[in-house]
Amino acid sequence: MSKPNLEIFSETLQKIAETDKDLYVVTSDSRGSGKLVPFGQKFPKQIVEVGIAEQNLVGVATGLAAMGKKAFAVSPACFLTARALEQIKNDVCYSDNPVKLIGISAGVSYGALGTTHHSLHDFAVLRAINNITIVAPADNYETEEAIKVATLLDKPVYIRFGKKSMPVNLDAEDAVFQFGKGRTIRQGSDLTFIATGEAVLPAFEAAKKLSKENNIEATVVSMHTIKPLDTELIAKLAENGKPIITVEEHSIYGGLGEAVGSFLMQNGFRNKFKIVGLPDDHTVSGSQNEIFEHYGISEKGLSELAMSLL
């Protein structure tokens, strides 16, 4: 049954904590929004509350990680990657402490709560910081795998997801999950969608619509890892010269789209190319779905854009 990735995150941590007593969750009054209340009840010794103090959240998680703990710092993506950015840059990345930074309710998941609660900057700021893996899982499977892989990785990681229900597994073939390796969830020869996080689903739906109604076959890739970027796969996808559309729940500046575009330009690919995301504008108000629709991160918007490129 499909669930929000947030719930999968919490369930996965609980599974790991059953046997791994070095796993610690650090929260900033965010255990409820992080679905971590059951974790706290089952493993009271392995949850650390810092209060509404995101800088200290990342500092304390750093100190725990430096002592050999597997520390997950869990906070809304908007606050974690803005309020505590200097701690992420210096204490986690530069000092190379393997903290797992978990940005919950990312992108525009908070919908009508507005821009204070949106994180449309996190890929951009973190991409410019050395020594961090940036991950946005699309479905429940990717989320569970991302948390498992991050737990074992002795390096800084940022994982962000939303709270809307997501499919169990978008990839029928069930390819192995690996950081830095995009998952091709649909094959087609007319164009390619490279999407990330919760924007993969509308790209997938657009591809199905294009196939059914227009006889157009699109490849859809879940580029769950924004950094390091799977440039090998992008090169392979671009080889056919067909249009490429990137889709993300992030500003069109500095995210997946610009990363892919930069790679294509610098490597001689001249495919038609479009970046879909949130424009550099005051974000429209509404639910996550409504905001997605408004900016064309939707079955309709993406299929129309695809048609216009063909």
């Binding site: 810092v50 209060g51 200290n56 990342v58 100190g63 430096a66 002592m67 050999g68 520390a71």
Partner: protein, 270 residues
Amino acid sequence: MTENHLSLIEKSKEYRKKILKYIFNAKAGHTGGDLSIIDILNVLYNRIMNVSPENWHSNTRDRFIQSKGHCVEALYVVLADKGFFPEEDLLTMCQYNSPYIGHPTKYIKGMEQNTGGLGHGLSICCGNALAAKKDNSPIKVFTILGDGEMAEGSNWEAFMFAAHYKLDNLCAILDYNKLQITAPNAEVIGLEPLDKKLEAFGWAVRHVDGHNLEELENTLKSLPFEAGKPSFVIAHTIKGKGVSYMENTLKWHHGVPSAEQMELAMEELI
């Protein structure tokens, strides 16, 4: 004064001379603040902490994170003296491609964390101290904060945290030289009454003369000051301590002495 303290006094003199030597060579450094924390570092590394090149990779070492990272030259000199790396390495300080940069980094053996942005060390120490408590480890965790640095809000987040979690294995030492870059703290943003503020935040607070080695040692040997509370040492210091023309002078925050000034300083430090 015991034999014990005489040798520490000699060390402080040597350390001061070396700090100036390497800053003079590098043509860079935070001279005033180095000279104000060196006696504290001397006592920590030679009398208090269980940290040495031999136990560096052991989890049982005490932890020290210098939150006022800009005063790294003082820490370099002490770590070299402890044998963490050859002292001559410091001749490369701040030169092209040298790992001995102007702030602490883990590239250098003996450094726990990379600091330099103010207001970071204490939170990390809180994580260290909490992990030690969880593991029932007897280690102690230390940091040195600058008085200007105290204005960073993140410190106050950490003060609340340390008291809430009863981290009595944590000791923060304030290098209270009363100066920052622009002016005295009292003009920039006042700190007082500091002891009352920290006590209200749940810390056990002591004042010491930060250049009196015996007093520093006795104070730091009595940790924790109160069971169940983190300890805060307000070390009253003098920026530029030991070199008359540098003492209490704003411009020596990061001044490099001329050849004549070096000579004068060396004479005073005999």
